[in-house]
């Protein structure tokens, strides 16, 4: 059996990669993918703890997370499409609408 610690460390590193992607990339699409990475890192942690505690609830929550991720992807991608239609790009650095 492998070391669950290492699985958690893997989850952490994956999460960090996702965070770095969110913070550093300018393309909205890649940022979106990085968010998926972070979600998956969280899923991994949940599965590990589910296994350790002998409780299926962790895996059920993973299921829900996937469902929410699907919904989020649908809406998020729709937003990106709408944004692209107006601006002809998806560059977050050039999008500073929040400052208005």
């Amino acid at each position: 059996m492998f070391d669950y610690n290492h699985a958690l460390i893997l989850a952490f590193m994956l999460f960090t990669l996702g965070t770095a992607g969110v913070l550093l990339r300018r393309s909205a699409l890649v940022v979106f993918m990085s968010i998926e990475l972070m979600l998956n890192a969280v899923n991994l942690v949940l599965v590990v703890f589910s296994r350790l505690r002998g409780d299926l609830d962790g895996q059920v929550i993973c299921f829900f997370i996937m469902a929410v991720a699907a919904a989020e992807a649908a809406v998020g991608l729709a937003i990106i499409i709408a944004f692209f239609k107006r601006k002809k790009h998806v560059d977050l650095d050039r999008a500073s609408l929040l400052r208005s």
Partner: protein, 647 residues
């Protein structure tokens, strides 16, 4: 219906009506509203007088009515009600204030008929009546102070009423008003300090409480002396005594009815009223009382000498007012509180009459005030002349007229206290007679020196102005009968006021004043009559006889005369000693303290805020990733915190 509890309401309503509708009512309507308001107050005052006199006649000692309007301030141990105190002293005062005030209001309708700002004028007049009534009727020092400041404000507003004109070549009317206000502030400052001392020592500002506490548990002598002197300082400011009299002559910049009402008959006597009201405090400190007497005596002769040389009809009367107020303080200082108030009353009659007569002359002369360009007016203005003559006889103190009796009472009190002060008073009486007859001769007698174009328009004033003159003339003649000396009859006013000054009998050294013997009384009366006649003869020989010759108004005479003409150069001395150093200090505060020190600090803090804002702006760049980054940063810090705590 009892009107006296509403006595404050009438002028208030009057001024509100005039403030809103005054311009639509026209000068007659506006003046009528103001006059009726004061008339109603006068009726209320009469009712209060009748009630109080009834109480005095019962003789149970507490001859007073208190109308409590509402609780005004209640903070911790301090409370002040807005309540009206009707006792003999305040009733006498409000009778004079509303009575003379009513006549002057009526007179103003005629006097201000050519002025476009009549509505503002009547608003101010009614506001003045309101403040003056508040001053006199307040049953504690705080309400008195409110009225005190209120009349000061009205005085300022009315002196500068014609704010766009010049008073003298050097001074604008507005500057005259400002001068009056600032000089009064000096006195008010002293008054306020006195109030603080009273409150800290007696824990109240209510007259009864303070006087009872002071009489039974007087504070340290030093404190009592300080209170007395500070109150006196306030009184010298308001009543134009040495050293703060300088504003009153310049207050003549206001319209003449204002000079009559505020700067002769009523407001300037507020100081006398206040000292009379505080008689207990003064009786407890005889030294301060002596100071009061000397301030009064010196002011009286000081101002009288100046009045002998002035050539502006209103200036002569102004210095005469200062001098007569000095008499009142002399009386107060000699413990003749009733005598002081008596002189307030008679002075209000004849001095208001003098000013209104002068106003009538000025009105007829198309705003000419210089008596060097008058003369021989008695044929053209017979009514004005007759009433002015009566007032002159009254102020000069010729037997039978009102001024004679009140002045005589003060002089008698001074004689029994301090003969030197009596001497001052008699000399002043002679001087008064001299400058008043000088004024009479130059204005009404002799050859006319009136400029032709003014002479053409010369005619007697309308009845709305002359009827008040006649009424005041009547009062000036018979007003003295309310206070006959013991040898001639009963002193009605003294008997009426007796309950107010009852408390004096319990204070050591203030028992029943020893009455002068009848022969001494006659002697004193004779001496003051001689002084008055002497002044008249001097004026006759030195002014009337030489009146038509060249050189009467020649500039050069001896140095003392020029010093008098320049009013002892008091203004110049004050300017040099006080005004200039102060404006230098103010300039220093402006240029150095304000512009360098304070502005620097303000600008510096402003810069700090701006830099802080610029710094914060960097975080608000609108980029979602930047926001996310700070979120993560916060998350990491939180994590670190948790881990450190665990480890």
């Amino acid at each position: 219906m009892d009107l006296y509890p509403l006595i404050l309401a009438f002028p208030l309503i009057g001024l509100l009506i005039n403030a809103v509708l005054g311009r639509r009512l026209g000068v007659r309507g506006s003046g009528a509203v103001a006059s009726v308001a004061v008339l109603l107050s006068f009726v209320g005052a009469i009712q209060a007088f009748i009630k109080v006199r009834h109480l005095v006649a019962l003789g149970d000692g507490e001859a007073r009515l208190v109308v409590r309007l509402w609780e005004w301030i209640h903070v911790g141990g301090f409370s002040a009600d807005l309540s009206l105190l009707f006792d003999p002293l305040s009733v006498v005062m409000i009778l004079v204030v509303t009575g003379v005030g009513f006549l002057i209001h009526v007179y103003s309708i005629g006097y201000m008929s050519h002025d476009r700002d009549y509505a503002r004028f009547f608003v101010y007049l009614n506001l003045f009546m309101l403040a003056m009534l508040l001053l006199v009727l307040g049953d504690n020092y705080l309400v008195l102070f409110v009225g005190w400041e209120g009349v000061g404000l009205c005085s300022y507003l009315l002196i500068g009423f014609w704010y766009d004109r010049m008073f003298t070549t050097k001074m604008s009317n507005a500057a005259a008003g400002k001068k009056a206000f600032i000089v009064n502030r000096v006195g008010d400052f002293g008054f306020l300090l006195a109030l603080f001392l009273i409150f800290t020592n007696f824990h109240s500002l209510n007259f009864d409480t303070v006087f009872a506490a002071a009489a039974h548990h007087p504070a340290a002598t030093g404190v009592m002396t300080a209170i007395g002197l500070l109150l006196l300082l306030g009184a010298t400011g308001k009543s134009a005594q040495l050293p703060l009299f300088v504003w009153l002559p310049d207050a003549m910049a206001g319209p003449t009815p204002v000079s009559a009402l505020i700067h002769a008959a009523t407001m300037v006597t507020a100081g006398v009223y206040m000292v009379a009201r505080s008689h207990i405090l003064y009786a407890l400190t005889p030294d301060v009382l002596t100071v009061v007497a000397w301030v009064g005596g010196l002011t009286a002769i000081f101002a009288a000498t100046i009045a002998c040389t002035q050539n502006d009809i209103k200036k002569v009367l102004a210095y005469s007012t200062v001098s007569q107020l000095g008499y009142m303080f002399l009386g107060l200082g000699c413990a003749a509180f009733g005598g002081g108030v008596f002189h307030v009353v008679t002075h209000a009659f004849f001095k208001a009459l003098l000013f209104l007569g002068a106003g009538s002359v000025i009105h007829a002369m198309s705003d000419e005030q210089d008596i060097r360009r008058m003369g021989g007016l008695r044929h053209k203005l017979p009514l004005t002349f007759a009433t002015f003559l009566i007032a002159t006889l009254a102020i000069a103190g010729l037997p039978g007229f009102s001024g004679f009796f009140s002045k005589d009472e003060i002089l008698a009190a001074a004689f029994s206290r301090q003969p030197a002060l009596w001497g001052l008073g008699v000399v002043t009486a002679g001087l008064t007679s001299f400058y008043m007859f000088r004024l009479m001769f130059l204005t009404f007698f002799g050859k006319s020196r009136v400029e032709p174009e003014r002479a053409a328009k010369l005619k007697e004033s309308p009845p709305v102005m002359t009827v008040p003159l006649l009424i005041l003339a009547l009062l000036s003649i018979v007003g003295g009968l309310i206070g006959l000396p013991p040898v001639l009859g009963r002193h009605l006013l003294g008997g009426f006021l007796a309950p107010v000054f009852e408390g004096l009998h319990h204070i050591e050294g203030f028992g029943h004043a020893e009455h002068l013997s009848a022969s001494k009384e006659w002697l004193l009366m004779g001496i003051s009559t001689v002084a008055a006649l002497g002044g008249f003869l001097l004026a006759w020989t030195r002014v009337h006889k030489v009146g038509d010759k060249e050189g009467l108004f020649a500039k050069s005479r001896n140095g003392f005369y020029r010093l008098l003409e320049d009013k002892y150069r008091v203004d110049e001395v004050y300017d040099l000693l006080i005004v200039r150093p102060l404006s230098k200090l103010a300039r220093f505060c402006w240029r150095v303290v304000d512009e360098l020190v304070i502005d620097l600090a303000v600008n510096f803090s402003g810069l700090g805020v701006r830099l802080g804002g610029e710094l914060m702006r960097l975080f608000q760049n609108g980029r979602i990733q930047s926001y996310a980054f700070f979120m993560v940063l916060g998350l990491v810090m939180l994590l670190i915190r948790v881990l450190v705590q665990q480890g």
